[in-house]
């Protein structure tokens, strides 16, 4: 049986959670747009003009959302490739599901804590990092 196959439950779980994380990344664009509108803080003069602001403006809340978005790019792109390669190490479906769920939960929680300015953020962040480190460790040991 091929490991990248719809017969492998770990593979279909990967497809699902990778998709959920894509929604999560896309949501950051929507949230940024919402904050830019309500704060009238635009990055481009043509946007400011069209949307009734006098000039471009940097807003602390918009920057916070953008940092959370950037953190997604730094981490979730890594998960997408690691999750796919991790399947090639033939993990048990239960292990794979646990990791994909923990990672997805960690990223969603992280963003909520980031936007709300909670100091608990690093504790949730580390869960996602552990998932990625575990997967990459298995990949490198397998394909050494």
């Amino acid at each position: 049986m091929s490991l990248w196959s719809l017969d492998n439950p770990a593979f279909t779980d990967y497809a699902f959670y990778a998709g959920v994380l894509a929604v999560k990344v896309m949501a950051m664009g929507v949230i940024t747009g919402y904050y830019r509108m309500t704060k009238k803080a635009f990055a481009n003069p043509e946007d400011a003009k069209r949307l009734g602001a006098k000039d471009v403006k940097v807003d602390a809340d918009v920057e916070r959302v953008r940092r959370a978005h950037q953190n997604d790019l730094e981490n979730i792109t890594v998960f997408w490739i690691l999750g796919l390669l991790f399947l090639l190490t033939n993990p048990s479906p239960a292990t794979a599901r646990l990791i994909f769920r923990a990672y997805t939960g960690s990223r969603i929680g992280y963003t909520i804590l980031y936007i709300s300015g909670s100091s608990l953020r690093p504790g949730v962040y580390i869960v996602g990092v552990i998932c990625n480190v575990f997967m990459v460790f298995r990949i490198i040991c397998t394909f050494w």
Copy 2:
């Protein structure tokens, strides 16, 4: 038949358009370099020194290209994974090709409008977003 197979025309279309979008992302690095050179606006002191500028400098046009590049990273990385997973939902080759083409056209048009400062930018942006939303909707429904 495996869906990730060279026998599947949707798969080879994905490979082609994912490659075209990679060229498009790489082109942003070249355009940034071009603007940094012509504007003498460098981010690192060692670059400024080597290339005949007095000091590092922030330039509005360079920042605009960098925002367009950043927007690519926020969106095209999502397309790469969604396009691959979307193939697993067994779309008709015609539907897949339409989406891959619309997405690629949207991203190229978006960057041209961004760099030229056009206020038509959001209208072209939304086409790409719709493609990604459609694909992720199909993926999540299939692998729920």
Copy 3:
């Protein structure tokens, strides 16, 4: 034989080097954290407060590490997808290994030179760009 198969040595090489590059990207997060701590330069007020800094602060060395991290996102995400698609062009295992190794070496060297402020940085950067351009050229020619 499928090209995305553990029987294909180019495929297992891809898995290994893509994993190594994931470690490299994750290391940037650790290095950024280290610099933020030692320089007491945090991006969020809640981090500054918790870690004994008076206020948020921008530090030149932290910004340098962040630019190197950003450059990884702009380039290594492109490698991940191009490497995977390049396998579909049926390269000889020796060619594939050479490219994956050269790319990985280029990226690690680039970051070391970036953080140390060396003006040799562009010479090492170009090696990685050539690898990506070669792969995308093969992909586009194959799936035209």
